[in-house]
């Protein structure tokens, strides 16, 4: 059971950051829906609800999503329904129920590097960046790779509008369950990027397979071959939802499907 000594809701980022630094055992609260399962003893919980981080702003070059924007706000955003052919909405719209999507925040999901996250998988192939209060801007890939970034505050997610075609696919036992596997594929004028999440480790780009796909004309046979390359390149483990072998098998199928969707 989680224990919190002090719960604070600062009204700006400076105050939030100072509170976060005030104790070694402090933590940021996004929606809090997964943090509540933790057995941590938190000295100061810093809730960002009132720090002005709920927004979706579109510019000519990008769309910026504030860290405290909820999944439901993203799902109902007219901007996100059309951008990237609505792939962000497709990625999140069946996660649990609306009651939980009114709680889950993009910042909470990304900052925590959740392995089961559908959203991180799609953000990876969209070349998204994040802005951290202290560390500044880094790509999501760098953030996932660099575990030394901590005790910081995720301010916003920035997604460039590169005109890429993107697809998202997943396997789950029921429509609103946690995923057994998630895959996302983007095609930016022939440059293919493929990411796989819920392995069950956090999503990762299959670099070699993406390079192979980018340097070959995509046909059904090549897509099948790339799917197998991805399944062999990445590692998979077992958990209560699936065996590693099953994940590996469906990986190649979902990646092939995704590639054919972005032709």
């Amino acid at each position: 059971m989680i224990l919190i000594n002090e719960y604070r809701t600062p009204s700006n980022l400076q105050e939030a950051f100072e509170l976060l630094q005030s104790s070694e055992n402090s933590a940021v609260v996004g929606g809090g829906a997964f943090l509540r399962f933790s057995s941590k003893k938190i000295d100061v919980a810093v809730d960002l609800s009132k720090a002005g981080l709920s927004f979706i702003n579109e510019t000519e070059e990008s769309v910026e999503i504030g860290a405290m924007t909820t999944y439901r706000e993203m799902e109902t955003s007219e901007t996100l329904k059309t951008l990237f052919e609505g792939v962000l909405v497709k990625t999140i719209r069946n996660i649990v129920g609306i009651q939980m999507r009114n709680l889950f925040t993009i910042g909470g999901t990304v900052y925590a590097r959740y392995g089961f996250s559908n959203l991180i998988t799609t953000l990876l192939v969209l070349d998204a960046e994040i802005e951290l209060y202290k560390a500044g801007r880094v790509t999501i890939k760098e953030y996932l790779d660099n575990r030394s970034i901590k005790n910081d505050i995720l301010v916003k997610v920035i997604i460039p509008k590169n005109g890429q075609k993107v697809s998202f696919n997943m396997m789950q036992k029921t429509a609103t369950d946690f995923p057994i596997l998630t895959t996302a594929v983007s095609n930016n004028n022939g440059k293919i990027v493929i990411a796989v999440g819920a392995r069950p480790a956090v999503a990762q780009i299959a670099l070699n397979a993406s390079q192979f796909a980018s340097s070959n004309q995509l046909t059904e046979d090549v897509a099948k071959q790339v799917g197998e390359l991805v399944a062999n390149e990445l590692s998979f483990s077992a958990d209560l939802r699936s065996s590693a072998e099953y994940r590996k098998m469906i990986c190649s199928v979902l990646v092939k499907r995704g590639l054919l969707e972005v032709l």
Binding site: I4, V29, I98, Q99, N102
Partner: protein, 150 residues
């Protein structure tokens, strides 16, 4: 710590633990229509409206709702009876454990979507589980309620 909320139209100050979940606070203060089911965000029986939005009270820290407007079934009894009657008419109200959550999600839907389609209704209610009945009759009942409540 203390939080200030408006619950079912009444202003209240509650004393809470900083890690306490809203569901436990609500039941401690006597709002027993709010049920504890899965306690992990999956079943929807603990749904309440927070600032008009349906939220699973098992998954939100009580401290987070400081300053918010909360609605439970105790505050919408007339609407609950009406929705319940539509469900009874369709033969889909059995043990009743899921009913408070369903009612509040339907009221949230009513506030958020002006002309919901059948798909919109099913999508909106996908976070409310019922182990007694199927969902076809419930969808029919809710569709009728929404149509006739306009």
């Amino acid at each position: 710590m203390n939080i200030q909320v408006t619950i079912n139209g009444a202003s209240r100050t509650w004393s809470i633990e900083p890690h306490e979940l809203l569901l436990d606070t609500l039941r401690r203060y006597g709002y027993l229509s709010v049920k504890k089911g899965c306690d992990s965000g999956s079943c929807g029986v603990c749904t309440v409206l927070i600032n008009d939005k349906p939220v699973n009270s098992c998954s939100i820290f009580a401290a987070k709702v400081d300053g918010s407007n909360i609605v439970t079934v105790e505050g919408v009894q007339a609407e609950a009876e009406k929705i319940g009657a539509y469900m009874v008419d369709e033969g889909v109200d059995q043990c009743g454990f899921c009913s408070p959550g369903f009612v509040l999600t339907v009221l949230g839907l009513q506030k958020e979507l002006k002309n919901p389609t059948e798909d919109d209704i099913l999508h909106y209610l996908s976070g409310n589980l019922c182990r007694c009945t199927g969902y076809v009759g419930q969808a029919r009942a809710i569709h009728k309620y929404l149509k006739e409540s306009k």
